[in-house]
Protein backbone atom coordinates (compact mmCIF):
# COMPACT_ATOMS: atom_id res chain seq x y z
CA UNK A 1 0.00 0.00 0.00
CA UNK A 2 1.49 3.28 -1.07
CA UNK A 3 2.45 6.37 0.89
CA UNK A 4 3.26 9.86 -0.26
CA UNK A 5 6.87 10.70 0.50
CA UNK A 6 9.35 13.38 -0.31
CA UNK A 7 11.77 11.92 -2.88
CA UNK A 8 14.68 12.24 -0.45
CA UNK A 9 12.80 10.24 2.17
CA UNK A 10 11.58 7.69 -0.36
CA UNK A 11 15.12 6.95 -1.55
CA UNK A 12 16.38 6.84 2.05
CA UNK A 13 13.61 4.43 3.03
CA UNK A 14 13.60 2.07 0.08
CA UNK A 15 17.13 2.02 -1.37
CA UNK A 16 19.94 0.20 0.40
CA UNK A 17 23.55 -0.38 -0.63
CA UNK A 18 23.79 -3.58 -2.64
CA UNK A 19 20.20 -3.43 -3.89
CA UNK A 20 19.12 -4.51 -7.33
CA UNK A 21 17.49 -1.39 -8.77
CA UNK A 22 15.47 -1.03 -11.96
CA UNK A 23 14.95 2.65 -12.80
CA UNK A 24 13.00 2.05 -15.99
CA UNK A 25 11.79 4.24 -18.80
CA UNK A 26 11.84 3.34 -22.47
CA UNK A 27 12.71 6.59 -24.26
CA UNK A 28 10.02 8.38 -22.22
CA UNK A 29 9.33 9.16 -18.56
CA UNK A 30 12.88 8.30 -17.49
CA UNK A 31 13.17 8.81 -13.71
CA UNK A 32 16.11 11.22 -13.70
CA UNK A 33 15.20 13.01 -10.47
CA UNK A 34 15.16 9.75 -8.51
CA UNK A 35 18.44 8.61 -10.07
CA UNK A 36 20.15 11.84 -9.06
CA UNK A 37 18.86 11.44 -5.52
CA UNK A 38 20.53 8.01 -5.33
CA UNK A 39 23.79 9.69 -6.36
CA UNK A 40 23.29 12.45 -3.81
CA UNK A 41 22.76 9.88 -1.06
CA UNK A 42 25.89 8.01 -2.25
CA UNK A 43 24.20 4.62 -2.25
CA UNK A 44 26.73 2.12 -3.58
CA UNK A 45 27.26 -1.45 -4.74
CA UNK A 46 24.02 -1.34 -6.69
CA UNK A 47 23.09 -3.74 -9.44
CA UNK A 48 21.47 -1.46 -11.98
CA UNK A 49 18.90 -3.02 -14.28
CA UNK A 50 17.45 -1.34 -17.35
CA UNK A 51 16.70 -2.15 -20.96
CA UNK A 52 18.02 1.20 -22.18
CA UNK A 53 20.49 2.73 -19.72
CA UNK A 54 21.15 6.28 -20.80
CA UNK A 55 22.32 9.50 -19.17
CA UNK A 56 21.08 8.81 -15.65
CA UNK A 57 22.73 5.37 -15.62
CA UNK A 58 25.89 6.93 -17.08
CA UNK A 59 25.85 9.31 -14.12
CA UNK A 60 25.24 6.55 -11.56
CA UNK A 61 28.06 4.47 -13.07
CA UNK A 62 30.45 7.40 -13.34
CA UNK A 63 29.79 8.32 -9.70
CA UNK A 64 30.66 4.79 -8.60
CA UNK A 65 27.20 3.72 -7.42
CA UNK A 66 27.04 0.55 -9.55
CA UNK A 67 28.86 -2.76 -9.21
CA UNK A 68 26.89 -4.44 -11.96
CA UNK A 69 24.73 -3.53 -14.93
CA UNK A 70 21.99 -5.70 -16.42
CA UNK A 71 20.98 -4.15 -19.74
CA UNK A 72 20.15 -4.58 -23.40
CA UNK A 73 21.13 -1.29 -25.07
CA UNK A 74 23.44 1.30 -23.59
CA UNK A 75 23.89 4.51 -25.48
CA UNK A 76 23.05 8.20 -25.63
CA UNK A 77 20.01 7.92 -27.93
CA UNK A 78 20.43 9.88 -31.13
CA UNK A 79 23.85 11.12 -29.98
CA UNK A 80 26.26 8.21 -29.54
CA UNK A 81 28.21 6.72 -26.69
CA UNK A 82 27.74 6.81 -22.97
CA UNK A 83 31.30 7.69 -22.03
CA UNK A 84 31.05 6.82 -18.36
CA UNK A 85 29.66 3.40 -19.21
CA UNK A 86 32.32 2.87 -21.88
CA UNK A 87 35.20 3.93 -19.64
CA UNK A 88 33.95 1.68 -16.86
CA UNK A 89 33.97 -1.27 -19.26
CA UNK A 90 37.02 -0.35 -21.31
CA UNK A 91 39.26 1.02 -18.52
CA UNK A 92 37.59 0.25 -15.18
CA UNK A 93 36.95 3.93 -14.36
CA UNK A 94 36.04 4.63 -11.56
CA UNK A 95 35.98 0.88 -10.90
CA UNK A 96 35.20 -2.32 -12.77
CA UNK A 97 31.61 -2.90 -13.76
CA UNK A 98 30.20 -6.40 -14.05
CA UNK A 99 27.87 -6.91 -17.01
CA UNK A 100 24.88 -9.10 -17.61
CA UNK A 101 24.00 -8.32 -21.18
CA UNK A 102 20.78 -9.17 -22.98
CA UNK A 103 18.67 -8.25 -25.96
CA UNK A 104 15.50 -6.17 -25.46
CA UNK A 105 13.21 -9.17 -25.96
CA UNK A 106 14.96 -11.09 -23.20
CA UNK A 107 14.78 -8.18 -20.74
CA UNK A 108 11.12 -7.51 -21.48
CA UNK A 109 10.25 -11.16 -21.01
CA UNK A 110 12.36 -11.40 -17.87
CA UNK A 111 10.46 -8.49 -16.32
CA UNK A 112 7.15 -10.06 -17.35
CA UNK A 113 8.22 -13.32 -15.73
CA UNK A 114 9.17 -11.44 -12.58
CA UNK A 115 5.81 -9.70 -12.51
CA UNK A 116 4.12 -13.11 -12.85
CA UNK A 117 6.37 -14.62 -10.14
CA UNK A 118 7.74 -17.14 -12.60
CA UNK A 119 11.34 -18.29 -12.10
CA UNK A 120 12.13 -17.84 -15.79
CA UNK A 121 10.80 -16.68 -19.13
CA UNK A 122 10.75 -18.44 -22.46
CA UNK A 123 10.96 -16.87 -25.89
CA UNK A 124 12.72 -17.50 -29.19
CA UNK A 125 15.64 -15.14 -28.91
CA UNK A 126 19.41 -15.36 -29.34
CA UNK A 127 19.48 -17.98 -32.09
CA UNK A 128 22.66 -17.67 -34.08
CA UNK A 129 24.11 -14.89 -31.90
CA UNK A 130 27.16 -14.75 -29.62
CA UNK A 131 25.18 -13.83 -26.51
CA UNK A 132 24.86 -17.35 -25.12
CA UNK A 133 28.68 -17.54 -25.22
CA UNK A 134 29.10 -14.57 -22.90
CA UNK A 135 25.97 -14.76 -20.74
CA UNK A 136 25.52 -17.97 -18.74
CA UNK A 137 21.97 -16.83 -17.92
CA UNK A 138 20.85 -17.72 -21.43
CA UNK A 139 19.85 -21.35 -21.70
CA UNK A 140 17.80 -23.50 -24.02
CA UNK A 141 15.15 -26.08 -23.32
CA UNK A 142 12.84 -28.34 -25.28
CA UNK A 143 9.10 -27.91 -25.67
CA UNK A 144 7.49 -30.81 -23.76
CA UNK A 145 4.90 -31.18 -26.53
CA UNK A 146 6.76 -30.66 -29.80
CA UNK A 147 10.42 -30.94 -28.89
CA UNK A 148 11.08 -27.49 -30.39
CA UNK A 149 13.96 -25.65 -28.77
CA UNK A 150 13.06 -22.46 -26.88
CA UNK A 151 15.27 -19.91 -25.16
CA UNK A 152 15.10 -19.32 -21.41
CA UNK A 153 16.29 -16.43 -19.25
CA UNK A 154 15.85 -16.02 -15.49
CA UNK A 155 13.09 -13.73 -14.25
CA UNK A 156 14.04 -10.25 -13.10
CA UNK A 157 13.00 -9.61 -9.51
CA UNK A 158 14.62 -6.29 -8.51
CA UNK A 159 14.60 -5.06 -4.94
CA UNK A 160 13.37 -1.66 -6.05
CA UNK A 161 11.70 -0.36 -9.19
CA UNK A 162 11.73 3.35 -9.90
CA UNK A 163 9.55 4.94 -12.56
CA UNK A 164 8.25 8.39 -13.41
CA UNK A 165 4.58 8.92 -14.31
CA UNK A 166 2.42 11.86 -15.25
CA UNK A 167 -0.08 11.69 -12.38
CA UNK A 168 -1.18 10.16 -9.14
CA UNK A 169 -4.51 10.64 -7.44
CA UNK A 170 -4.73 11.56 -3.76
CA UNK A 171 -4.79 7.90 -2.74
CA UNK A 172 -1.61 7.18 -4.67
CA UNK A 173 -3.00 5.43 -7.73
CA UNK A 174 -0.55 6.16 -10.54
CA UNK A 175 -1.44 7.10 -14.12
CA UNK A 176 0.86 7.24 -17.11
CA UNK A 177 0.27 7.64 -20.80
CA UNK A 178 2.25 7.55 -24.01
CA UNK A 179 5.13 5.16 -24.54
CA UNK A 180 5.08 2.77 -21.59
CA UNK A 181 7.95 0.34 -22.22
CA UNK A 182 8.29 -2.07 -19.29
CA UNK A 183 7.42 0.33 -16.49
CA UNK A 184 4.39 -1.59 -15.25
CA UNK A 185 6.25 -4.90 -15.37
CA UNK A 186 9.22 -3.38 -13.52
CA UNK A 187 6.99 -2.14 -10.70
CA UNK A 188 5.11 -5.43 -10.42
CA UNK A 189 8.30 -7.52 -10.59
CA UNK A 190 10.02 -5.61 -7.78
CA UNK A 191 9.77 -6.03 -4.04
CA UNK A 192 9.40 -2.25 -3.57
CA UNK A 193 8.69 0.63 -5.90
CA UNK A 194 9.05 4.40 -6.01
CA UNK A 195 7.01 6.43 -8.47
CA UNK A 196 7.76 10.09 -9.06
CA UNK A 197 4.89 12.01 -10.63
CA UNK A 198 4.39 15.34 -12.36
CA UNK A 199 1.31 16.19 -10.36
CA UNK A 200 -1.32 14.93 -7.95
CA UNK A 201 -4.93 15.10 -9.12
CA UNK A 202 -8.33 14.14 -7.75
CA UNK A 203 -8.92 11.06 -9.84
CA UNK A 204 -7.08 8.87 -12.29
CA UNK A 205 -8.57 6.13 -14.45
CA UNK A 206 -8.22 4.69 -17.94
CA UNK A 207 -11.54 5.78 -19.40
CA UNK A 208 -9.83 8.44 -21.54
CA UNK A 209 -6.69 6.42 -22.13
CA UNK A 210 -3.45 5.77 -20.30
CA UNK A 211 -2.52 3.09 -17.80
CA UNK A 212 -3.25 3.00 -14.08
CA UNK A 213 -1.10 1.17 -11.54
CA UNK A 214 -3.18 0.78 -8.37
CA UNK A 215 -1.92 2.27 -5.12
CA UNK A 216 -1.62 -1.15 -3.49
CA UNK A 217 1.06 -2.15 -6.01
CA UNK A 218 3.27 0.88 -5.31
CA UNK A 219 5.42 1.57 -2.21
CA UNK A 220 5.96 5.32 -2.47
CA UNK A 221 4.64 8.16 -4.60
CA UNK A 222 6.70 11.36 -4.78
CA UNK A 223 5.48 14.49 -6.55
CA UNK A 224 8.46 15.80 -8.56
CA UNK A 225 7.50 18.17 -11.37
CA UNK A 226 9.83 17.83 -14.37
CA UNK A 227 11.19 14.70 -12.69
CA UNK A 228 11.98 13.06 -16.04
CA UNK A 229 14.10 15.95 -17.36
CA UNK A 230 16.01 15.78 -19.73
CA UNK A 231 13.63 13.01 -20.83
CA UNK A 232 10.03 14.01 -21.38
CA UNK A 233 6.57 13.50 -19.99
CA UNK A 234 3.94 13.36 -22.72
CA UNK A 235 1.40 16.10 -22.18
CA UNK A 236 3.73 17.99 -19.81
CA UNK A 237 7.05 18.84 -21.46
CA UNK A 238 9.22 17.68 -24.33
CA UNK A 239 12.59 16.02 -24.41
CA UNK A 240 15.59 18.31 -24.04
CA UNK A 241 17.57 17.13 -27.03
CA UNK A 242 20.02 19.93 -26.33
CA UNK A 243 20.87 18.44 -22.94
CA UNK A 244 21.47 14.99 -24.46
CA UNK A 245 23.92 16.62 -26.88
CA UNK A 246 25.65 18.62 -24.14
CA UNK A 247 25.93 15.48 -22.04
CA UNK A 248 28.32 14.10 -24.65
CA UNK A 249 30.66 17.06 -23.97
CA UNK A 250 30.23 17.04 -20.21
CA UNK A 251 30.78 13.32 -19.83
CA UNK A 252 33.59 12.59 -22.26
CA UNK A 253 36.35 13.33 -19.76
CA UNK A 254 36.14 11.84 -16.27
CA UNK A 255 37.47 14.91 -14.44
CA UNK A 256 35.13 17.26 -16.25
CA UNK A 257 32.27 14.86 -15.48
CA UNK A 258 33.16 14.76 -11.74
CA UNK A 259 33.41 18.51 -11.58
CA UNK A 260 30.03 18.87 -13.28
CA UNK A 261 28.38 16.31 -10.99
CA UNK A 262 29.95 17.86 -7.89
CA UNK A 263 28.66 21.26 -8.83
CA UNK A 264 25.19 20.44 -10.09
CA UNK A 265 24.22 17.26 -8.27
CA UNK A 266 26.28 16.86 -5.10
CA UNK A 267 26.24 20.62 -4.65
CA UNK A 268 22.46 20.97 -4.77
CA UNK A 269 20.13 19.70 -2.11
CA UNK A 270 17.36 18.37 -4.32
CA UNK A 271 16.06 18.13 -7.87
CA UNK A 272 14.47 21.58 -7.78
CA UNK A 273 17.74 23.22 -6.83
CA UNK A 274 19.55 21.14 -9.45
CA UNK A 275 17.20 22.43 -12.15
CA UNK A 276 17.58 26.00 -10.94
CA UNK A 277 21.36 25.62 -11.06
CA UNK A 278 21.16 24.18 -14.57
CA UNK A 279 19.01 27.09 -15.59
CA UNK A 280 21.39 29.60 -14.08
CA UNK A 281 24.24 28.05 -16.12
CA UNK A 282 22.30 27.90 -19.36
CA UNK A 283 21.67 24.16 -19.49
CA UNK A 284 17.90 24.61 -19.71
Amino acid sequence: MTEFLDLTEAVRKHLNPGNVVAAEGFTHLIPHAAGLEIIRQEIRHLTLVRMTPDIIYDQLIGMGCADKLVFSWGGNPGVGSLYRLREALEQGIPHALELEEHAHAAMANAYAAGAARMPFAIFKGYRGTSYPDVNPHIRFLDCPFTGQKVTAVPALRPDVAIIHAQRADREGNVWLRGIVGVQKEAVLASARSIVTVEEVVDRVDETKGGTVIPRWAVSAVCPVPLGAFPSYAEGYYSRSNAFYLRWAEVSRDYDRFREWMDRFVMGTRDFGHYLLALKEHGYV
Binding site: W73, G74, G75, E90, H104, A105, F123, E185, L226, K279
Partner: protein, 268 residues
Protein backbone atom coordinates in the same frame (compact mmCIF):
# COMPACT_ATOMS: atom_id res chain seq x y z
CA UNK B 1 18.02 16.67 -68.47
CA UNK B 2 20.60 17.38 -65.84
CA UNK B 3 20.53 15.22 -62.78
CA UNK B 4 20.33 16.88 -59.39
CA UNK B 5 23.35 16.75 -57.09
CA UNK B 6 22.97 14.65 -53.97
CA UNK B 7 24.91 13.25 -51.02
CA UNK B 8 25.89 9.55 -50.73
CA UNK B 9 23.64 9.28 -47.69
CA UNK B 10 20.72 10.54 -49.76
CA UNK B 11 21.39 7.83 -52.31
CA UNK B 12 21.28 5.22 -49.52
CA UNK B 13 17.99 6.55 -48.20
CA UNK B 14 16.41 6.71 -51.65
CA UNK B 15 17.60 3.21 -52.55
CA UNK B 16 16.12 1.89 -49.31
CA UNK B 17 12.84 3.76 -49.73
CA UNK B 18 12.33 2.34 -53.21
CA UNK B 19 12.36 -1.18 -51.82
CA UNK B 20 9.36 -0.54 -49.61
CA UNK B 21 5.91 -1.46 -50.89
CA UNK B 22 2.62 0.33 -50.58
CA UNK B 23 1.17 -2.22 -48.16
CA UNK B 24 4.45 -2.74 -46.29
CA UNK B 25 4.65 -3.04 -42.51
CA UNK B 26 8.03 -1.68 -41.53
CA UNK B 27 9.95 -1.80 -38.27
CA UNK B 28 12.25 1.19 -38.11
CA UNK B 29 14.88 2.82 -35.98
CA UNK B 30 16.06 6.41 -36.03
CA UNK B 31 18.36 7.81 -38.69
CA UNK B 32 18.48 6.54 -42.26
CA UNK B 33 15.71 3.90 -41.90
CA UNK B 34 13.33 6.48 -40.49
CA UNK B 35 14.15 8.82 -43.38
CA UNK B 36 13.70 6.00 -45.90
CA UNK B 37 10.31 4.94 -44.53
CA UNK B 38 9.05 8.51 -44.26
CA UNK B 39 10.23 9.20 -47.79
CA UNK B 40 8.48 6.08 -49.13
CA UNK B 41 5.29 6.96 -47.29
CA UNK B 42 5.29 10.37 -48.92
CA UNK B 43 5.97 9.04 -52.42
CA UNK B 44 5.03 5.58 -53.73
CA UNK B 45 3.96 3.82 -50.51
CA UNK B 46 1.27 5.92 -48.92
CA UNK B 47 -0.28 3.01 -47.05
CA UNK B 48 2.99 1.85 -45.55
CA UNK B 49 2.71 1.11 -41.82
CA UNK B 50 5.54 2.42 -39.69
CA UNK B 51 6.35 0.70 -36.43
CA UNK B 52 8.95 1.97 -34.01
CA UNK B 53 10.62 -0.12 -31.34
CA UNK B 54 9.25 2.08 -28.58
CA UNK B 55 5.86 0.43 -29.05
CA UNK B 56 4.13 2.75 -31.51
CA UNK B 57 2.16 0.95 -34.21
CA UNK B 58 1.13 2.66 -37.42
CA UNK B 59 2.54 6.06 -36.66
CA UNK B 60 2.12 9.00 -39.00
CA UNK B 61 4.71 11.54 -37.93
CA UNK B 62 4.44 14.91 -39.66
CA UNK B 63 8.08 15.57 -38.80
CA UNK B 64 11.13 13.31 -38.57
CA UNK B 65 11.30 11.87 -35.08
CA UNK B 66 14.58 12.51 -33.24
CA UNK B 67 14.42 9.33 -31.18
CA UNK B 68 12.41 6.11 -31.30
CA UNK B 69 10.51 7.51 -28.33
CA UNK B 70 9.68 10.88 -29.86
CA UNK B 71 6.26 12.09 -28.62
CA UNK B 72 5.33 12.73 -32.26
CA UNK B 73 5.28 8.95 -32.67
CA UNK B 74 2.93 8.15 -29.81
CA UNK B 75 0.75 11.16 -30.59
CA UNK B 76 0.17 10.01 -34.17
CA UNK B 77 0.17 6.23 -33.62
CA UNK B 78 -2.89 4.08 -34.03
CA UNK B 79 -1.75 2.01 -31.05
CA UNK B 80 0.93 2.17 -28.37
CA UNK B 81 1.89 -1.16 -26.86
CA UNK B 82 4.14 -2.28 -24.03
CA UNK B 83 7.65 -3.55 -24.72
CA UNK B 84 6.58 -7.07 -23.77
CA UNK B 85 3.75 -7.01 -26.30
CA UNK B 86 5.94 -5.42 -28.98
CA UNK B 87 8.60 -8.10 -28.82
CA UNK B 88 6.36 -11.12 -28.22
CA UNK B 89 3.19 -10.52 -30.21
CA UNK B 90 4.30 -8.20 -32.98
CA UNK B 91 7.94 -9.01 -33.71
CA UNK B 92 8.29 -12.65 -32.64
CA UNK B 93 4.67 -13.14 -33.71
CA UNK B 94 5.80 -12.52 -37.27
CA UNK B 95 3.52 -9.62 -38.16
CA UNK B 96 6.26 -7.27 -39.34
CA UNK B 97 7.19 -7.63 -42.98
CA UNK B 98 10.27 -5.43 -43.27
CA UNK B 99 12.96 -4.55 -40.77
CA UNK B 100 15.94 -2.22 -41.06
CA UNK B 101 19.26 -2.93 -39.41
CA UNK B 102 22.66 -1.34 -39.12
CA UNK B 103 25.83 -2.36 -37.30
CA UNK B 104 29.51 -1.65 -36.70
CA UNK B 105 30.55 -4.87 -38.45
CA UNK B 106 29.01 -7.16 -41.06
CA UNK B 107 30.32 -10.39 -42.57
CA UNK B 108 29.75 -11.98 -45.98
CA UNK B 109 26.60 -13.73 -44.72
CA UNK B 110 25.01 -10.61 -43.31
CA UNK B 111 25.70 -11.44 -39.67
CA UNK B 112 25.95 -8.18 -37.72
CA UNK B 113 27.91 -6.90 -34.76
CA UNK B 114 26.67 -3.91 -32.78
CA UNK B 115 27.97 -5.08 -29.41
CA UNK B 116 31.72 -4.81 -29.07
CA UNK B 117 34.98 -4.30 -31.01
CA UNK B 118 37.77 -6.44 -29.61
CA UNK B 119 37.42 -8.96 -26.84
CA UNK B 120 34.06 -9.02 -25.06
CA UNK B 121 35.67 -9.11 -21.59
CA UNK B 122 38.23 -6.38 -22.32
CA UNK B 123 36.75 -4.44 -25.18
CA UNK B 124 38.62 -2.09 -27.44
CA UNK B 125 35.39 -0.24 -28.18
CA UNK B 126 32.24 -0.95 -26.27
CA UNK B 127 29.18 -0.39 -28.51
CA UNK B 128 25.61 0.11 -27.29
CA UNK B 129 24.62 -3.55 -27.70
CA UNK B 130 21.67 -5.47 -29.02
CA UNK B 131 18.49 -3.52 -28.33
CA UNK B 132 15.85 -5.02 -30.57
CA UNK B 133 18.22 -5.86 -33.43
CA UNK B 134 18.45 -9.64 -32.86
CA UNK B 135 14.64 -9.89 -32.98
CA UNK B 136 14.36 -7.70 -36.06
CA UNK B 137 16.97 -9.90 -37.74
CA UNK B 138 15.18 -13.08 -36.70
CA UNK B 139 11.50 -12.29 -37.07
CA UNK B 140 10.87 -9.62 -39.69
CA UNK B 141 9.97 -11.43 -42.91
CA UNK B 142 12.82 -9.60 -44.63
CA UNK B 143 15.47 -7.12 -43.56
CA UNK B 144 17.46 -4.41 -45.24
CA UNK B 145 20.83 -3.45 -43.84
CA UNK B 146 21.96 0.16 -44.20
CA UNK B 147 25.67 0.56 -43.63
CA UNK B 148 28.54 2.62 -45.03
CA UNK B 149 30.99 0.34 -46.76
CA UNK B 150 34.60 0.12 -45.55
CA UNK B 151 37.14 -2.51 -44.62
CA UNK B 152 36.58 -1.60 -40.96
CA UNK B 153 32.93 -2.53 -41.12
CA UNK B 154 32.81 -5.18 -43.87
CA UNK B 155 34.97 -7.79 -42.16
CA UNK B 156 36.02 -11.39 -42.57
CA UNK B 157 35.03 -12.30 -38.99
CA UNK B 158 33.02 -10.00 -36.75
CA UNK B 159 34.20 -9.80 -33.14
CA UNK B 160 30.68 -10.70 -31.99
CA UNK B 161 27.42 -11.72 -33.65
CA UNK B 162 24.66 -9.51 -32.27
CA UNK B 163 22.07 -10.25 -34.98
CA UNK B 164 22.05 -13.24 -37.21
CA UNK B 165 22.06 -13.04 -41.00
CA UNK B 166 22.54 -16.25 -42.94
CA UNK B 167 24.73 -17.69 -40.17
CA UNK B 168 27.30 -19.83 -42.05
CA UNK B 169 25.49 -19.46 -45.35
CA UNK B 170 23.63 -22.02 -47.41
CA UNK B 171 20.62 -23.35 -45.52
CA UNK B 172 22.24 -22.99 -42.10
CA UNK B 173 19.83 -20.21 -41.06
CA UNK B 174 16.89 -22.57 -41.51
CA UNK B 175 17.91 -24.72 -38.55
CA UNK B 176 17.50 -21.74 -36.18
CA UNK B 177 13.68 -21.90 -36.25
CA UNK B 178 13.31 -18.17 -36.84
CA UNK B 179 10.46 -17.09 -39.06
CA UNK B 180 12.20 -14.27 -40.93
CA UNK B 181 13.91 -15.02 -44.24
CA UNK B 182 16.96 -12.89 -43.45
CA UNK B 183 18.64 -9.92 -45.15
CA UNK B 184 17.41 -9.25 -48.67
CA UNK B 185 19.84 -6.43 -49.38
CA UNK B 186 22.69 -4.48 -47.87
CA UNK B 187 22.46 -0.91 -49.06
CA UNK B 188 25.71 1.00 -48.68
CA UNK B 189 27.04 4.38 -49.75
CA UNK B 190 28.69 2.58 -52.70
CA UNK B 191 26.08 0.16 -53.93
CA UNK B 192 23.84 -2.76 -53.12
CA UNK B 193 24.78 -6.27 -52.00
CA UNK B 194 22.28 -9.11 -52.20
CA UNK B 195 22.54 -12.69 -51.00
CA UNK B 196 23.29 -15.38 -53.55
CA UNK B 197 20.20 -17.60 -53.80
CA UNK B 198 22.15 -20.77 -52.93
CA UNK B 199 25.24 -19.85 -50.94
CA UNK B 200 23.59 -16.82 -49.34
CA UNK B 201 26.91 -15.00 -49.62
CA UNK B 202 26.49 -11.28 -50.27
CA UNK B 203 27.09 -10.37 -53.89
CA UNK B 204 27.58 -6.85 -55.21
CA UNK B 205 24.59 -6.52 -57.52
CA UNK B 206 24.54 -2.78 -58.06
CA UNK B 207 26.76 0.23 -57.69
CA UNK B 208 25.51 3.75 -57.20
CA UNK B 209 26.07 6.26 -60.01
CA UNK B 210 29.71 7.23 -60.30
CA UNK B 211 30.99 4.41 -58.11
CA UNK B 212 33.33 1.87 -59.65
CA UNK B 213 33.06 -1.83 -58.87
CA UNK B 214 36.70 -1.76 -57.76
CA UNK B 215 35.90 0.89 -55.16
CA UNK B 216 33.30 -1.40 -53.62
CA UNK B 217 35.63 -4.41 -53.74
CA UNK B 218 38.38 -2.36 -52.10
CA UNK B 219 36.04 -1.27 -49.34
CA UNK B 220 35.20 -4.86 -48.42
CA UNK B 221 37.25 -6.93 -45.99
CA UNK B 222 36.61 -10.20 -47.77
CA UNK B 223 36.95 -11.13 -51.47
CA UNK B 224 33.70 -9.60 -52.64
CA UNK B 225 31.68 -11.51 -55.20
CA UNK B 226 30.45 -9.31 -58.03
CA UNK B 227 27.39 -9.97 -60.18
CA UNK B 228 27.84 -10.00 -63.91
CA UNK B 229 26.59 -7.63 -65.06
CA UNK B 230 26.47 -5.22 -62.14
CA UNK B 231 23.52 -2.88 -62.27
CA UNK B 232 23.75 0.82 -61.69
CA UNK B 233 21.35 2.32 -59.21
CA UNK B 234 19.11 4.96 -60.71
CA UNK B 235 20.10 8.26 -59.12
CA UNK B 236 17.66 10.03 -56.82
CA UNK B 237 15.02 11.89 -58.80
CA UNK B 238 14.36 15.53 -58.25
CA UNK B 239 11.03 14.54 -56.72
CA UNK B 240 12.61 12.10 -54.29
CA UNK B 241 15.20 14.63 -53.22
CA UNK B 242 12.61 17.33 -52.78
CA UNK B 243 10.51 15.18 -50.46
CA UNK B 244 13.55 13.84 -48.61
CA UNK B 245 14.92 17.32 -47.98
CA UNK B 246 11.56 18.57 -46.85
CA UNK B 247 11.53 16.11 -43.94
CA UNK B 248 12.13 18.30 -40.92
CA UNK B 249 13.19 17.01 -37.52
CA UNK B 250 10.74 17.36 -34.66
CA UNK B 251 11.24 20.40 -32.49
CA UNK B 252 11.49 20.49 -28.75
CA UNK B 253 10.66 23.26 -26.41
CA UNK B 254 12.81 24.42 -23.55
CA UNK B 255 11.68 23.63 -20.01
CA UNK B 256 13.30 26.76 -18.58
CA UNK B 257 10.00 28.51 -17.91
CA UNK B 258 8.58 25.41 -16.26
CA UNK B 259 11.64 25.17 -14.00
CA UNK B 260 10.90 28.69 -12.82
CA UNK B 261 7.22 28.17 -12.27
CA UNK B 262 7.66 24.90 -10.37
CA UNK B 263 10.81 25.55 -8.40
CA UNK B 264 11.61 29.24 -8.11
CA UNK B 265 10.66 30.37 -4.64
CA UNK B 266 9.68 33.96 -4.17
CA UNK B 267 11.82 35.63 -1.46
CA UNK B 268 10.32 35.17 1.98
Amino acid sequence: MCEPAYMPEEMMVVAAARRLDDDDVVFIGIGLPSKAANLARRTHARHLSMIYESGTLDTAPTVLPLSIGDPELSRTAKAVVSAVEMFNYWLQGGWIRTGFLSAAQIDRFGNLNSTVIGDYRSPKVRLPGAGGAPEIAAFCSRTFILLRQSRLSFVETPDFVTSVGFLEGGRSRDRLDVSGRGPQAVITDLGVLEPHPESRELVLTAVHPGVGVETAVEATGWPLQVADPVAETAPPTAGELKVLRSLKPSETTDVGDKVSSHYEVSPE
